[in-house]
Amino acid sequence: MEKPNYQNYRIDAENICVDYNGKVALYDANLRLKPGQICGLVGMNGAGKTTFFNALTGFVNISKGKIRINGEPLRAAQKDQTIAYVPQSEGIDSQFPVNVWDVVMMGRYGSMNILRCPRESDVQAVKDAIRRVDLTDFLSTPIGNLSGGQRKRTFLARAIAQRASILLLDEPFTGVDIRTEKLISELFIQFKNEGKTILLSTHDMIHVREFCDLVLLINKTVVAYGETSEVFTPENITSTFGGISPDVLFGPES
């Protein structure tokens, strides 16, 4: 499906800038990811991680630069259901009156007709996705009654049901239990083997070393980007966090 001259890159963000009413949130950021790559997005709070995601999903407009998804403009990628976004826990209203099934079905909305009537294939996709995140026993549980980890898995299932080839995950490991953490890690390996491209933001340095091929350190702009082994050095991390050493930020265990 991908155009030949761009087939190397699934995400190609070139010099993108985002500002909110004149306040610059992100400037001159570049990112190139290929199929099957997992990239960690690391930076302080307010460094522009969520803004970066917002730009890649099209939720905010970029004021400068260019985003190509599989060589196509963002709008085409949205129509093709190419990008899935898994919000951070605080980003959603957990008291909203919907259950697990409803949320996962939302992953299919983009490929349904205007009335969003589920077809047999949509139902099947939702069932499969829920099975993969191990929530089959919770189909009709309101999301407000789920644990943090179960809720995170619900939104992951929505991304799976969408059958997107790019997954953007905002803090996927924050506030989840050990079981969910293990399940998400396993899913990441499966996604990688399926050729999906993953961009995830995290505060946990161990996760970055564990399964990110690439790492993008940002502080309003890209501080460093490349192979995790080369880029994820104490010096780079320190400069990303404004001169504070990572030990102070994350405790000695990281």
Partner: protein
């Protein structure tokens, strides 16, 4: 004793129905309540209660100008309703004043303009009926307008039911899968303005916001399913209208006030006794509750 009780209940229910104006008032109020109740689910979930208040107050000058020019008052109300929202957005973006301040500022400004216009334009506008509603004195042309607008809002909300739900829940996901979020934003605003227009006839401008938020809030306490929430919301709104109109007939009370008070009592009931989210959690009493 019993036959007497039965017959008095019978009289209580049927006697008002012998009057033409009462049948009309019951029909109109129930219709308006259904429309506002339907919209109310979205507004309470989206957190647009203050926006509902703003739009419903801002339609005032529109109603007055339309009356003065002999235009359908819904047209004037609609223009000012949508205009107020646009103005709120503009002032918010161009100044450092916080959003709730801007909302309060704009709608009171519009409302004051409306009151001044009423006093200036000498016509047969009944300020009281605009402010407090007059479901018992609705004219035939108003009935037609209200039915048309109500149908329009119900059709729009039904067709875009799931999209609007997603828009309220997770607009970012909606955007990511290629759904036009801006369109949904204005669709909800349009429906809000239209609902405010029909609502002001029964309960008046000041209380129409209650029609737009109370049924949704009541339903929110009673269910965890969106579809159930809209149904409970519509149902409680209609019941409130009927109770309000009957009480206003038998006890000679202000109709708009009675309707809203009935809604408030139903909310209070849910607040206290809702199985899961009420103050007294009667979860265990309902043994079939999952």
């Amino acid at each position: 004793m019993e036959p007497f009780l039965l017959s008095s209940i019978n009289t209580f229910v049927t006697e008002p129905l012998t009057h033409d104006f009462m049948r009309k008032a019951l029909f109109m109020s129930s219709l308006v309540a259904a429309v506002c109740g339907l919209l109310s689910s979205y507004l309470t979930l989206k957190g647009w209660a203050l926006m509902g208040d703003a739009v419903s107050h801002s339609v005032m000058p529109g109603v007055v100008v339309a009356y003065a020019l002999g235009l359908p008052f819904s047209l004037g109300a609609f223009i000012f309703g949508v205009g107020s929202v646009a103005l709120i957005g503009f002032v918010k973006q161009k100044s450092r004043v916080k959003e709730d301040t801007v909302i309060g500022l704009v709608f009171t400004g519009f409302f004051a303009l409306g009151i001044v216009l009423v006093s200036k334009i000498k016509s047969n506008i009944d300020l009281h009926s605009i402010l407090f509603g007059s479901p018992l004195g609705i004219s035939l042309s108003d009935v037609k307008q209200t039915v048309l607008i109500s149908l329009l809002v119900v059709v729009l909300l039904s067709v875009f039911r799931k999209d609007l739900m997603l828009y309220c829940f997770d607009p970012r996901h909606a955007k990511t899968v290629g759904i036009n979020v801006l369109f949904l934003h204005y669709l909800l605003l349009t429906c809000l303005s239209l609902a405010a227009v029909v609502g002001l006839q029964t309960v008046g401008i000041i209380l129409v916001v209650a029609m737009l938020i109370t049924p949704g809030a009541t339903a929110y306490l009673l269910t965890d399913q969106f579809d159930n929430m809209t149904m409970i919301s519509v149902f409680s709104a209609i019941i409130s209208s009927v109770i309000g109109i009957y009480c206003s007939f038998w006890f000679d009370l202000e109709t708009g006030g009675s309707i809203v008070l009935a809604q408030t009592f139903i909310f209070l009931f849910a607040f206290l006794f809702a199985p899961r989210y009420g103050i007294f959690k009667f979860k265990k009493i309902f043994s079939n509750y999952k």
